[in-house]
């Protein structure tokens, strides 16, 4: 019917749910579902990405297993969501990287770390690599700033281009013409919904994780991770401005803005991912897409390693470990960016786009 087993199952469930509707107050998925009587692939992928996986509809459902209707919306949409990432991946040749994502990302990470270490070793003599450097521009003794900027700028631009192409395919498929600037209000609404994880709260009571007691833990840990990542990214941006506008070179003093932002973000990015991983470990398997465990863990691990190596670099930058740590940190960050369009990172992008679509649909109902 839809070409994949999971979309067929999602279609069956949406038909069940559409004739019940008890869950419509829990999140955005069910009100969006109610606007349709039949579901195209795009509709189902839209609903799958709108779902935040809070699990409330499973715990609240009178037809969840062991009931013979076997209604498990969170798990089904989780699988559909993961398959949608591969379906919209650009270029198509890399779609397969989602299937064994944990392995792919570990290999790329290991390879890029090794490349930086060998690169540093090859281009610098041992004394510089393992020397102690504390003055401004110390990092760039190991790798010229421009080389760093070109390399990371390129990989960053590539990641953005690949993501944009994926989003374009998704946006087309979920039934909107490309070009969403037409509705600024919906973009802001979606930003707010995403920023506060409005739909990761089971309709107000919290998420379901290991048992039937709702909790806000996952939401809090996701905030730590997301805003931690945001602060780290801001640190990098501020440092770039420092470099080009004020000709102030890293490393910066501990009180300087890039370091403060990076440290705060880094702490969030240490506690957040490790806690999310712990929650994931405990989570009732019935709510989880077990096959994508590797993808989830790989992304969480990459975020954690980014922060860990960054903070280690900060703490040990005045010792002889700085050279190898810089290589390690840059390797991890490089791998994080290069794999961004092909891993769990995309969940944030597609979910945001789904929220934009939802905001637009809701506005259309209310009539602006």
């Amino acid at each position: 019917m839809h070409g994949t087993r999971i979309l067929d199952e999602a279609d069956r469930l949406m038909t069940v749910c559409n004739s019940c509707r008890y869950c419509e107050g829990l999140c955005a998925v069910f009100p969006a579902m109610e606007m349709r009587r039949a579901f195209s692939n795009g509709d189902l992928n839209y609903l799958a990405n709108l779902c935040h996986g809070c699990g409330a509809c499973y715990t609240d459902c009178q037809f969840s297993p062991p009931h013979e209707f076997n209604v498990n919306v969170p798990q089904t949409l989780a699988v559909a969501r993961a398959e949608s990432y591969a379906a919209y991946a650009w270029p198509r040749a890399f779609a397969g990287s989602f299937a064994r994502n944990g392995l792919v990302i570990s290999l790329i990470a290991a390879f890029s770390v090794a490349a930086f270490i060998f690169g540093f070793a090859a281009f610098n003599d041992r004394q510089i690599l393992l020397g102690v450097h504390a003055d401004a521009g110390a990092f760039y003794k190991l790798m010229p700033h421009n080389a760093m900027a070109v390399l990371f700028g390129a990989v960053f631009l590539y990641a953005i281009a690949a993501l944009v192409m994926g989003v374009r395919a998704f946006w087309r498929d979920i039934g909107e013409p490309v070009g969403m600037k037409t509705n600024i209000a919906s973009l802001f609404q979606a930003m707010r919904d995403a920023g506060e994880l409005r739909y990761l709260d089971g309709g107000g009571g919290g998420c379901f994780n290991e048992d039937d007691t709702p909790t806000d833990r996952r939401k809090i840990f996701h905030h730590l991770t997301f805003y931690g990542f945001g602060l780290c990214f801001a640190a990098t941006c501020v440092a770039t401005l420092y470099h080009y506008l004020f000709a102030r070179e890293a490393p910066y003093a501990w009180w300087d803005l890039p370091v403060v932002l990076g440290t705060l973000g880094g702490i969030g990015l240490l506690i957040g991912p490790i806690s999310l991983l712990a929650e994931k470990w405990k989570r009732d398997p019935v709510l989880v897409d077990a096959q994508r465990f590797g993808m989830d863990v790989a992304f969480i691990a990459m975020l954690f390693l980014t922060s860990l190596t960054g903070i280690a670099l900060l703490l040990l930058r005045e010792t002889s470990a700085m050279g190898p740590l810089l290589a390690l940190h840059l390797g991890v960050v490089f791998a994080l960016f290069v794999t961004m369009p092909y891993g769990k990172f995309v969940h944030g992008i597609y979910r945001y786009v789904a929220l934009v679509r939802y905001a637009q649909e809701q506005r259309a109902i209310i009539g602006e």
């Binding site: 004739s19 419509e24 107050g25 609240d60």
Partner: protein, 466 residues
Amino acid sequence: MADLTRPYDVLVIGGGNAALCAAISARRAGASVLVLEAAPKFYRGGNTRHTRNMRCAHDAATEILTGPYTEEEFWQDLLLVTGGQTDEELARFMIHESKDILNWIVEQGVRWQPSLGGTLSLGRTNSFFLGGGRAMLNALYLTAEKLGVEIAYDAEVTDLQIEDGMFLGATLKQPIGGATDIRASVLVAAAGGFEANIEWLKEYWGAAADNFLIRGTPYNRGSILKMLLAKGVQEIGDPTQCHAVAIDGRAPKFDGGIITRHDSVVFGIVVNKHAERFYDEGEDIWPKRYAIWGRLVAAQPDQIAYIIFDSSVVTSFMPSLFPPIGAPTIAELAAKLELDPASLEKTVINFNAAVQPGTFDHTILDDCRTEGITPAKTHWARKIDAPPYLAYPVRPGITFTYLGTRVNKQSRIVMKDGKPSANMFAAGEIMAGNVLGKGYAAGIGMTIGSVFGRVAGREAAKNAKN
């Protein structure tokens, strides 16, 4: 695992809304409480797991209710649906208490939301549970557990020891927590009706009951009700009556819940297995007449009927779980339904010929009607002539039964001799017949459960201390 060898102040038998409200209110009043739920954990809660709202009186609009619903209006509605078969004193007491339940139930962890899509007609009178009845139950169970109420599942009670209207103890089918014989100072019976007990239904309905589908779980067997009535408790409500709606004939025998119902009757015609119409499909607006179709179908041969409509009305009603059966011609549709094609064609042709011109409006009693056929379709009658032709097979879906135990305003069970029991209370569907002698108004079962559950728990705790 709870220690069931110790004596409890209050024993609650049942696991739905009424049982949990009783358990929570007794526990809050200081009693030790044990809840025995016959069903396994997943199926806990009897019919509550399939509910979605509660009807409570309120003097002003709230965040989730669109306007006031006074006690008097509630009473008039109850009078209307029961045709006067209600205990006015108890009913007015319940309606008055329902006002405070709106807040009390929230304090027990239940969350409200505005009326669901497709139920706008209830937006003023009924408060909907966020996430539905199972979410409501989950909240009550969490609260009960937090308060220290002991709960045992798969705990089927096979005997009650009652002497002269005095509860002495209960016997479990199999030992739980080291005990088979349960001792408690007070009993609250909140174990529902007997809608899932086909043998019992057969006593009144004969072999037809074999073709009934049960909308709730198979655990609503009425065994506690039967024991109480056998041990001197005064009965109330018509034992032969049950609330039944038309549900999809392809639904499972038990627990199909809300998603198997059909509200498309008014948009077509309904025929029996002889392909003949048998009742005015346009008599009144859904949901007012929603409840009659189960019993109408139950009266037809083999307890089956078919809603026949055409493609022009497909989007006029809520989608349902099972897709309609379709065919390009009436004759082919009849073949798919295993009806006689010539008879169905004749029925549709006669119906179409009788349809008078009018202006269709399904929200009011419009002027689209038939003339010259029996039975007539008095509203919303439009020709069935836009292929493909579609059909839903429907059977009676039994929701609940009316037979119950007589209680007073304390929710205390009244014995056959008219004396109140020394230490037995009842709440919920098991005593709903006191208030709801017949008929139904959306959400009233939950009102009965919460109000009398709360009262029964409070009184039971008081009783246990004396």
